[in-house]
């Protein structure tokens, strides 16, 4: 396994969480009456 893999994984997971999270927040806002 290449060096510093854990840092890379953490960065990619956090990015996905922020962008997916924001997409879900926007979607939920549209469901509100």
């Amino acid at each position: 396994m290449p060096e510093n893999t854990s840092y890379m994984v953490a960065a990619y997971v956090i990015t996905a969480a922020i962008l997916l999270g924001y997409a879900i927040v926007l979607y939920r806002r549209t469901l509100k009456p």
């Binding site: 290449p2 060096e3 890379m8 960065a11 990015t15 997409a23 926007l26």
Partner: protein, 222 residues
Amino acid sequence: MRLLKTGRWITIVGLALLAAVYVRALAFTPVERFQGAAQKIYYIHVPSALCAMLAMGLVGVAGILYLLIKDPRFDRFGEASAEVGTAFSLVMLTTGPIWAKPIWGTWWTWDARLTLTLFLFLLFLGYLLLRGAVTDPGLRARYSAVLGICGLALLPFIHLSVYLFRTLHPQPIVLKPSAPSLPGEMLVTLLFSFLVFTILYVGFVTQRYALSLLREQAEQHA
């Protein structure tokens, strides 16, 4: 509402392509010799930073246009772009320190580039707080436009900070007057990632704009 559905579809396409960026960056782009896997953070850190700056730039342009034309659509767009820019600057400010730790040996340093990007994030937050604090729509739009223009003025300083000051942050290797000093495979991955982040920006802003429009229409009917 058609605009909302369009924004939602653009976002779904953007998220699917983000998965493709991950596959391309992690499996089909070579590992850098000195930094190891940490260098692959580059493919999400740089596009998110560029999109955060694009978002603030457009907030500023919308602010100028609002002050000139007084069209509420520019104010609505500025609000949408600022909120989306906050999300992208959050990505930039979390992936940056995670990359810095193994390479620089520290999570954070108060050098010019890092401090100015933190300032950009705080400016986004300030913009959103300002909008929440001012109830009069006309005043809110005018104050927000001025703050957005201040944000636009900050962008050249962020870009040039690595040339003007001694910083740990590296100088641009793509956005510079000479040819990009990046191997072809890495450059393709970076450009693909930037395209996908831009698609996500468009999708998010379209949805956020449509939500503001719906809210205003509901308030008018109430």
